[in-house]
């Protein structure tokens, strides 16, 4: 069973089609970097893949779960990393991790330890990207969904995501290729 499957999934709001019908398949430990024609479509597909937004037509499955019917089970399998530079709504990094661990019903002590270890391995990554990436990873997801990640950070992302299925959306084919190439280079042992 694929970890992420979309069957003609599309999203429409107020008569405007934001996501055109899309079908895809992603198995465990696989990677898929998909380009889209607009940033809005790329962002919305990432939200669909993370089970946060529900398709208006077609189906999305995360493992065997349909986020429309089993949102909790589906979201447990996914770590979602948004594109936007985040506002610093938490006083400290530890506060942020503690908050996330409570929402994911995890032990906050071990989550903070894991987060610190991940932070040490993300040297050189801007906090605005590192923080949500670590937040997503402390939930021990099987699938990581990245909304328009920068190719610049692909090597560091590869360092902390080995073995995970990764689905990333991009605003152009060039950006998708750049991210995928940089990730593949970093993931391949020299």
């Amino acid at each position: 069973m694929p970890l992420l499957e979309m069957r003609d999934a599309s999203f429409t709001r107020d008569g405007t089609t934001i996501v055109h019908p899309l079908s895809l398949h992603l198995e465990r430990s696989e990677r898929l970097a998909l380009p889209f024609s607009s940033t809005r479509e790329a962002a919305t597909v990432a939200l669909l893949a993370a089970g946060i937004v529900k398709a208006t037509h077609g189906r999305v499955f995360i493992s065997e779960f349909d986020p429309r019917i089993q949102p909790v089970q589906a979201k447990r399998l996914v770590g979602y990393v948004p594109y936007d530079a985040v506002a610093h709504e938490f006083a400290t990094f530890e506060d942020y991790v503690t908050y996330r661990s409570a929402l994911w019903a995890m032990d906050s002590g071990s989550a903070v330890d894991l987060a610190r270890a991940l932070l040490a391995r993300l040297d050189g990554v801007h906090e605005a990207f590192a923080r949500p990436l670590i937040g997503a990873l402390v939930g021990h997801p099987a699938l990581l969904v990245l909304d328009r990640p920068l190719a610049l950070y692909a090597p560091q992302v590869a360092r902390v995501t080995s073995g995970l299925a990764i689905f990333s959306t991009h605003a152009s084919g060039e950006q998708a290729r750049a991210f995928e190439d940089a990730y593949a280079r970093a993931a391949t042992p020299a």
């Binding site: 946060i52 937004v53 529900k54 909790v72 447990r76 936007d84 503690t98 409570a102 949500p132």
Partner: protein
Amino acid sequence: MNRAAMLEIVVTRLRKDRRLLLLACAAAAIVGFLQPHAIATGGDPFARDLLTRNVWIAGPIFFGTWLGVVVALAQRGTGRLREIELCEQAAPLYGRELARATALVPCIIVTLASLLYWFVQFVTGLAAPPAFFVLSLATVLASTLVALSATLRRGAARFLYVASAFGVATISYLLAVYGDTLGPHPPRNAGHYYDFVGVVSVLVFCTFIAFAALRQYGEALARYDPVPDA
């Protein structure tokens, strides 16, 4: 949802809303202090009773509702709590669980503001009796919960939920002030209406509205799609 998650959501949101909490309490204290305190004297005792109820109830209900609507609308979709909202949306929580936790925050803020309003009135010499304060508080909580659904809507639907919140306040006010005129009429020498019909009808009405509004908010939150604007 475990208790730790609920507590974390409430504490985190309250920490972010501390300025809003202070502003709401300050506004409640000022309005409670400035509200006209004149109680009618002379004339028909039953008409006077209705005027007294009006003085007790009108200010706390309508000001509290206005405050509740403002606090409720600040809870979602303003961009102020974007990181928190994204975490909550991505978390493995059901819409109803998230609704309960997030609804607690505006309820705590308006409860504190209402208590302060009543306390300032008490200090300045004319606070509503506790039973009437409870009616004001119940109304404010119910209308705040109704207004919460407006945060998930846009355009006319958003306006409709805000208008419904004030509609709840108006019905509750009418029941609290005039509800007892529909019940058994007390003897002339009693000098005031019985409180039973007004108190019970407002509490039943607000409980029903609050329950339905919270349920509706949970359903809407479960279906909510936080798609970025163009």
